[in-house]
């Protein structure tokens, strides 16, 4: 690891304006985490135009802060209102709200904040050590490896995410198709432009994402909004007792590891890891019946894991140039806008961006730990602001923001079209996430598949016969065939109980 670059990164982060952007980012993150409705990917999408007018490092520091800050904010509503602000804090509801009802809301929030901080910090430390190694290793990757990685990424995002797998795969493949709109880089032929000059350069990812995530979610919330007032539980004594800390220390440790591991996987991220960490605690607990009735570990584990995962999901983006989830896809877009190509060369070519972002997370999490406890009261009061008042403000930010990118009203209309698509997708049970992610990966994927075919003289098997790409493809097949395998196992399990037991040991 280049210690000088690491230290320079810290110097950069502690510059006053970067600290300010970090603070703004985590505050916005906490805020949208508290408010049900807009998630981190939608918020980052809406704020993407800002990167056109701010210095690259500051912009990325801020947008990254939104993502991990949201993990902290979501906890507050889960505990106090039984209303998860984020999908990754849904499991926190079970024990967090139970604790709140026993008058121990403060304990739950305190443990969650400490767990979040520990999980994130452990994750950043590992990332600091591991990311340069991965990047160095990935420098040898050729188009075959990138094609394989991108393909695995699309598949994992579609299969691991919530919801129906076939629908997620359809959304992802349509995302791949959208990426082909415009002039073909290799032959110069126009594809799916229908004679439009504006479409010749392809669909702008920022505008598509703002539409699908931002406008889509704004429209959806407009319909789903329920005008009920929330009365949060009282919060007193936020500092957990020594007994609580002792009880949850194991959960925090395991949550950090689980979160880090699952966060690196494409499609894994914060949601999956919070579930896995909670399940682990419940499984190894001597008294699993306590879970759901106010077990401190039931708050500590998922909160630690979702923050660890939110942090480690930066690794594939910063070292391979492959975004692991929708929010990372937004950051990928932001980097491209700033003319920074994410990938293994990033750490060498733009150490300021790489170490600036990584090191800003140390600072950001410290800020979050310090803010989240004293500011709980303030954030609770923000919940009293009616959604009806926030909705037109987000709508205006989105429209004016997208206009400023190219000073073009055509962009507004493209965004609205994708907003309508995003809204209708949600109504029909399709998640827009895989589509946006596949759109990003689609650009990488087609490019690298075609390059590989040219290198391998038209032999598609050449894609899988190199050692690294072969391993990635093996993983791809495993993921693709897993549901089928599970189905077979389940069928075998159905007629008799005995073989099922054997299956468990073999799986």
């Amino acid at each position: 690891m280049d210690l000088n670059a690491f230290a320079d990164g810290f110097a950069l982060v502690t510059e006053p304006h970067n600290m300010l952007y970090c603070l703004i980012g985590v505050l916005i993150g906490m805020l949208i985490g508290v408010l049900p409705g807009l998630g981190p990917s939608a918020t980052i999408a809406i704020l993407l135009p800002i990167v056109y007018s701010v210095d690259p490092v500051s912009a990325i520091i801020m947008l990254a802060g939104i993502y991990y800050g949201a993990q902290y904010g979501g906890t507050i509503t889960s505990v106090l209102l039984r209303l998860p602000g984020e999908a990754s804090t849904v499991v926190t509801v079970f024990d967090g709200f139970a604790l709140a009802r026993q008058g121990k809301a403060g304990t739950a929030l305190g443990i969650a904040a400490i767990g979040s901080f520990v999980g994130a910090t452990v994750s950043i430390v590992i990332m600091t050590l591991v990311a340069p190694v991965v990047a160095g290793w990935a420098l040898d990757f050729g188009p075959q490896e990138y094609a394989a990685l991108a393909l695995l990424g699309v598949l994992l995002v579609a299969t691991i995410g919530s919801g129906n797998t076939v629908k997620a795969l359809i959304a992802a493949t349509i995302g791949l198709l959208l990426a082909t709109v415009g002039q073909d880089k290799f032959t110069g032929a126009e594809r799916f432009t229908f004679g439009s000059l504006e479409l010749q350069g392809g669909l702008d990812f920022v505008i598509v994402a703002m539409g699908l995530f931002g406008v889509g979610e704004i429209l959806y919330n407009l319909e789903e909004r329920h005008g009920k007032a929330h009365v949060p539980a009282k919060v007193s004594n936020v500092w957990p007792s020594r007994k609580d800390l002792r009880q949850s220390s194991g959960a925090i440790g395991r949550g950090s590891v689980i979160g880090f591991g699952l966060g690196v996987l494409p499609g894994g991220g914060a949601v999956m890891s919070s579930l896995a960490a909670y399940a682990t605690e419940k499984r190894i607990s001597k008294h699993p019946e306590r879970f759901g009735r106010g077990a401190v570990e039931g708050v500590a584990a998922p909160e630690t894991a979702n923050n660890a995962a939110a942090t480690s999901s930066f690794i594939p983006l910063l070292t391979l140039g492959i975004p692991a989830n929708a929010s990372m896809a937004m950051l990928f877009a932001a980097l491209l806008v700033l003319n920074v190509q994410p990938g293994p060369q990033l750490i060498e070519e733009r150490p300021d961006v790489f170490w600036g972002v990584v090191n800003s997370m140390y600072l950001g999490n410290l800020i979050l730990l310090m803010l989240s406890i004293p500011l709980v009261g303030l954030f609770v009061r923000i919940l009293l602001v009616r959604p009806a008042i926030l909705a037109p403000l987000t709508a205006l930010i989105t429209i004016l923001g997208v206009y400023t990118i190219n000073n073009s009203t055509f962009d507004i209309f493209v965004m609205v079209v994708f907003g309508i698509i995003g809204y209708l997708m949600k109504k029909a049970g399709f998640e827009p996430g895989p589509m946006v992610l596949a759109f990003v990966l689609g650009l990488i994927l087609e490019d690298n598949v075609r390059r590989s075919l040219i290198i391998e003289n038209g032999d598609p098997l050449g894609l899988v016969t190199r050692p690294i790409s072969g391993v990635i493809f093996a993983a791809f097949l495993l993921v693709a065939l897993w549901p089928a395998a599970k189905l077979v196992f389940r069928r075998r399990k159905a007629p008799a109980v005995a073989p099922a037991d054997r299956d468990h040991t073999t799986v």
């Binding site: 919801g163 359809i170 493949t173 349509i174 198709l177 073909d184 032959t187 709508a395 004016l400 109504k427």
Partner: protein, 181 residues
């Protein structure tokens, strides 16, 4: 019964169950606030739309020229992708009718429809008359008619918001939005 006794000392055999249970619980938690499911008609329409995308994509990309594997044409990649969309949509059409993940359109679906119109209106009017008046109108419509706010808070918030955006974009960020004043 003997089976379950055997299993007791090996808690890890319960692993998939806890996770599956948890996922079901989470889904339930999230579903609580959702409107009623749309039913088979929604699923069929959804699948038909994506099928049309797939078929359309296949036909168009075939027209762009497939080339050979050695020298792939412009249409090769979108052709393969479109075929996948088509196959997956057919699978959804056949097997997905009973899914419960769609949401019925209700009277309140009119709200997003009006919202879309205000977006388009702002986009169309901004180059002609500047952003201030259309933005103000958008705020008033969203607050008073879509959000059911009182006139008092509608006026306060919309005037405040437009003023804030005016200073933020024109002075704070130095971005030249088309403006009247």
């Amino acid at each position: 019964m003997t089976m379950s006794d055997e299993r007791a000392p090996r808690p890890e055999s319960g692993e998939p169950d806890i996770l599956a249970e948890l996922q079901a619980e989470v889904a339930e938690e999230l579903a609580e606030e959702r409107p009623p499911a749309g039913g088979p008609a929604y699923q069929v329409v959804g699948a038909l739309v994506t099928l049309a995308v797939g078929v359309g994509g296949t036909v168009l990309s075939y027209g762009y020229g497939l080339g050979t594997l050695r020298k792939p044409g412009a249409g090769m990649w979108p052709f393969v992708v479109s075929l996948l969309i088509t196959a997956l949509s057919l699978a959804l059409l056949v097997g997905g009718r009973q899914l419960a993940d769609s949401e019925r359109f209700t009277r309140s679906s009119l709200l997003p429809a009006i919202g879309i119109l205000t977006f388009l209106g702002l986009g169309a009017l901004m180059p002609a008359v500047g952003f201030e008046i259309p933005s103000l109108l958008l705020c008033v419509i969203w607050l008073r008619f879509l959000g059911g706010e009182t006139w008092r808070s509608t006026i306060l918030v919309s005037v405040g918001a437009v003023a804030a955006f005016y200073f933020l974009f024109l002075y704070g960020l130095g971005i030249p939005l088309p403006h009247l004043f």
